[in-house]
C-alpha cells in the first residue's frame, strides 16, 4: 500500500495514462485514496483542484477546459466528502443539487430491448439514456451526502438491479437486445455491485454477480477492472484471499507507473477497510 501511495502522490492531480491530460475522475479517486491514507495535504490540494473545476450550476466536468460532459460530478462529491465535508460543504451542496436535478433520458418500453427503459438514473452525457456506471457513482455520492432515502436514490437502486444480467454481472447497461442476452464485463459489474453494497436490494442476481466477480479474478484483466472487482467484493465482505497479490502484480505493470487513475484505484482496492 505504501509503495502505491508513494507513486500516486507526486502524480496527483493527474490523468488516465502516463503523460496524459489531467482529468477529474483520476484526481477524485486519488484524493480519496490519499485522504484515507492520512496524506491530508496532497488530498486537500486535489480537492481544491476539483473545486476549481466546478461550474456555476454545481457540476464538475471531465477535466480542465472541459465543462462537458458532467458525469464525474458525483466523483467530486465522494472526494470532497472524504477529504473534509466541512471545508468543502459549499461545493458539495451545489454538486448534490446538480446531481438531483440531472436525469438520464427515459424511453418507452421496447420489446427489442430487455431492460426497463423508463427507469431514470444518470447518463454519460446530457440528453442521453441512463447507464450503469454514472448511475452507480451518483447513487454512491447521494448516499454519502445523506440522501439514501431520496426518491432519486431509490429509483437508482431499482435501475441498477434491473440491469443485472440473468446469470449475474453486468454489461455496459443493456441486458438483452433483439432477444439475445449480452455478456458481462468485470468493470461495470464491479462498480454496480459496489454501489449496491449497503443498499436494501434483494435479488438473486446479486449473489450470482458476486460469484461472477470471484470467478473472473483468476483471469488476466486490466488494472481498473481488477480494482473495481476487489473493491466490490470487499464491500460485500467477500474479499478474495489473494487480493493483495493480484494488486501487487497490477502495480508492477509498466503502464501502471505514473497513471494516476490506475494507481488510485489500486490504492483503494488495497485498502481492506474501504467500502464507502
Amino acid at each position: 500500500m505504501k509503495s502505491i501511495l508513494e507513486q500516486l502522490e507526486p502524480c496527483t492531480p493527474g490523468g488516465y495514462s502516463p503523460g496524459g491530460p489531467r482529468a477529474t475522475e483520476p484526481t477524485a479517486w486519488a484524493a480519496m485514496a490519499l485522504s484515507r491514507a492520512g496524506r491530508n495535504d496532497s488530498a486537500g490540494r486535489a480537492g481544491e483542484w476539483l473545486a476549481a473545476l466546478q461550474s456555476r450550476d454545481g457540476s464538475v466536468g471531465v477535466g480542465p477546459d472541459a465543462a462537458q460532459p458532467q458525469w464525474p460530478t458525483s466523483l467530486a462529491i465522494l472526494a470532497w466528502r472524504r477529504i473534509d465535508p466541512t471545508r468543502f460543504s459549499a461545493q458539495i451542496e451545489r454538486a448534490v443539487a446538480w446531481t438531483l436535478a440531472s436525469k438520464g433520458k427515459p424511453a418507452p418500453r421496447n420489446p427489442k430491448i430487455g431492460h426497463d427503459t423508463t427507469l431514470i438514473g444518470w447518463s454519460w452525457a446530457a440528453d442521453t439514456h441512463s447507464w450503469l456506471e454514472p448511475t452507480s457513482f451518483a447513487a454512491m455520492s447521494l448516499r454519502a451526502a445523506g440522501y439514501q432515502d431520496h426518491p432519486r436514490s431509490t429509483e437508482a437502486v431499482r435501475m441498477l438491479v434491473d440491469r443485472l444480467l440473468p446469470t449475474g454481472g453486468c454489461n455496459y447497461g443493456n441486458t438483452e437486445i433483439l432477444g439475445q442476452t449480452l455478456v458481462p464485463h468485470l468493470q461495470p459489474s464491479g462498480i454496480v455491485l459496489w454501489a449496491l453494497a449497503g443498499e436494501d436490494a434483494n435479488d438473486e442476481r446479486i449473489g450470482r454477480s458476486l460469484e461472477y466477480l470471484e470467478g473472473q479474478l483468476a483471469k488476466p484483466t486490466g488494472c481498473a477492472s481488477l480494482a473495481y472487482a476487489i473493491i466490490a467484493l470487499t464491500a460485500w465482505q467477500r474479499r478474495p484471499a489473494n487480493a493483495n497479490g493480484l494488486i501487487a502484480e497490477a502495480v508492477g505493470r509498466p503502464d501502471t507507473k505514473d497513471s494516476t487513475y490506475k494507481l488510485a484505484l489500486l490504492a483503494l482496492a488495497a485498502d481492506e477497510e474501504f467500502h464507502e
Binding site: G15, Y16, S17, G20, P21, A23, V62, G63, A66, Q68, P69, K105, S123, W124, A125, D127, T128, H129, W131, E133, N171, Y172, I177, L178, Q180, L182, V183, H185, L186, Q187, P188, P220, T221, G222, C223, A224, S225, D255
Partner: protein, 342 residues
C-alpha cells in the same frame, strides 16, 4: 493478380460511339458515358484464400499498390491504425480485428518509412487495458514494438462537422487522430443488428473518445446512427480501409453473431466503396444501407459500375450472410447472390 473487369471495355465503347455518332444520337449515347464520366470512381482490392498465419503483409501491400498507393509518400508520415475492439472477449474472437492483421499492416507502412501507432476507443468497455488483453492485441503490439493510443482519454480537438447529415455541429477528435496523416480503418467484416453491416465506415465510431461521448457513445446514437457514421467519416483526415474479412461475423452482429470463414482481405481508399463491396459479398444491397447512402461524395461511389474491382471480383466471392429475422434487416437482402450475378 490484377483482374480487369469487363466494365472497362464498356466505357471504351461508349467513348467511341460518342465520337462517331453526331446529333441526338450522340446525346443519347453520351448519357451513360456522361453519367460515369461526371461521377467519381474508386478502386477496391479483394484478395481470397487468406489466413491469419499467412503472408498478410504481402497481401496488404499488394492491395494498397493496386489502389494506387505510392510508397514514397508514406516516408515520414504518421499512420494511425484503428482496429475494431468494441467489446473484446476471448470467448468471441470473431468479434474483433485479429491482431495478425494489425501487425501485418504496421509492417507494410513501417516498411515504407512511416511511423505507425495503433489507436482505439472501445465503445462498450471503459477499461481499454482489459480490451487489449482480451483481444490479444496487447501481446501482439508488445512483440512488434508498436505503440498504442487510448483514444478514449486523450487531449481532444474540435473539428467542424463536414458531413452535416446530423445536427451535430462538430466532433471532438483525440489528438492522435487529428495529428495523423492517415487514419486506417481496420474493421472486422460483420453484420450489424441495427444498420445491417458494420465495416470500415462504422468502425470509425471508435475514434471518438468515450470520455466525451459515453459508453456506449449515446450522443451519436441519439443523433442518428446512419447520419453520424456518415458525418464522422466526412470529418476525419485522410483515410484508408484494410478489412479483416478472414473470419467474419454473421447473424446477430456486431457482438453476438456466429463466425463465418471467408478468407478475404479488402483494401481501398474510398471507404464507402469498400463497404459497398463488402455488403455485396455478404449478400446485402449497399443501396439499402442508410449510412452508405448518406456518405459524402468523396467517400466513393456505391454504384458497382463505378467501382473498379482489383484482385478478385465480388460476384465470385458472394455468399449470403445470415441476418436476424427483422424487417429492417431482411429488406437489405440482395435478390441474387453468387457468380451468376452481373
Amino acid at each position: 493478380m490484377s483482374n480487369q473487369h469487363s466494365k472497362t471495355q464498356i466505357d471504351k465503347i461508349d467513348r467511341r460511339t460518342l465520337l462517331k455518332v453526331g446529333g441526338a444520337g450522340a446525346i443519347l449515347c453520351a448519357t451513360p458515358f456522361a453519367y460515369r464520366w461526371g461521377r467519381p470512381r474508386a478502386k477496391v482490392f479483394v484478395s481470397r484464400g487468406q489466413h491469419y498465419d499467412g503472408p498478410l503483409a504481402q497481401t496488404i501491400r499488394d492491395g494498397l499498390l493496386a489502389g494506387g498507393a505510392e510508397p514514397a509518400w508514406y516516408r515520414g508520415k504518421r499512420v494511425l491504425l484503428k482496429p475494431n475492439l468494441v467489446e473484446p472477449t476471448k470467448a468471441i474472437p470473431h468479434m474483433t480485428t485479429n491482431p495478425a492483421m494489425i501487425v501485418a499492416a504496421a509492417e507494410v507502412f513501417r516498411g515504407w518509412g512511416a511511423s505507425v501507432k495503433v489507436g482505439e476507443a472501445p465503445g462498450h468497455v471503459r477499461d481499454t487495458e482489459m480490451a487489449l488483453i482480451e483481444s490479444g492485441v496487447s501481446e501482439a503490439l508488445a512483440d512488434s514494438g508498436i505503440g498504442f493510443a487510448d483514444l478514449n482519454y486523450e487531449e481532444v480537438v474540435w473539428r467542424r462537422n463536414r458531413g452535416k447529415r446530423s445536427k451535430l455541429r462538430g466532433f471532438w477528435l483525440p489528438q492522435s487522430v487529428a495529428e495523423a496523416d492517415v487514419v486506417v480503418s481496420m474493421p472486422k467484416m460483420k453484420t450489424h443488428h441495427w444498420v445491417g453491416i458494420t465495416c470500415s465506415m462504422k468502425n470509425f465510431y471508435g475514434v471518438l473518445p468515450g470520455i466525451k461521448y459515453g459508453w456506449p457513445k449515446n450522443v451519436l446514437h441519439h443523433n442518428g446512427i446512419p447520419q453520424t457514421v456518415a458525418d464522422v467519416n466526412a470529418t476525419l483526415p485522410r483515410t484508408l480501409a484494410i478489412v479483416d474479412g478472414i473470419t467474419c461475423m454473421e447473424g446477430d452482429g456486431p457482438i453476438l453473431g456466429t463466425a463465418k470463414q471467408m478468407g478475404l482481405v479488402l483494401v481501398g481508399a474510398s471507404l464507402a466503396s469498400v463497404d459497398a463491396t463488402a455488403a455485396r459479398i455478404m449478400g446485402l444491397d449497399p443501396m439499402q444501407v442508410e449510412y452508405l447512402r448518406l456518405a459524402v461524395r468523396r467517400m466513393g461511389p456505391l454504384d458497382d459500375s463505378l467501382i473498379e474491382q482489383r484482385g478478385e471480383v465480388w460476384q465470385e466471392l458472394a455468399t449470403p450472410f445470415e441476418i436476424l429475422d427483422q424487417p429492417h434487416l431482411q429488406k437489405l437482402r440482395l435478390e441474387k447472390v453468387g457468380p451468376q450475378v452481373t
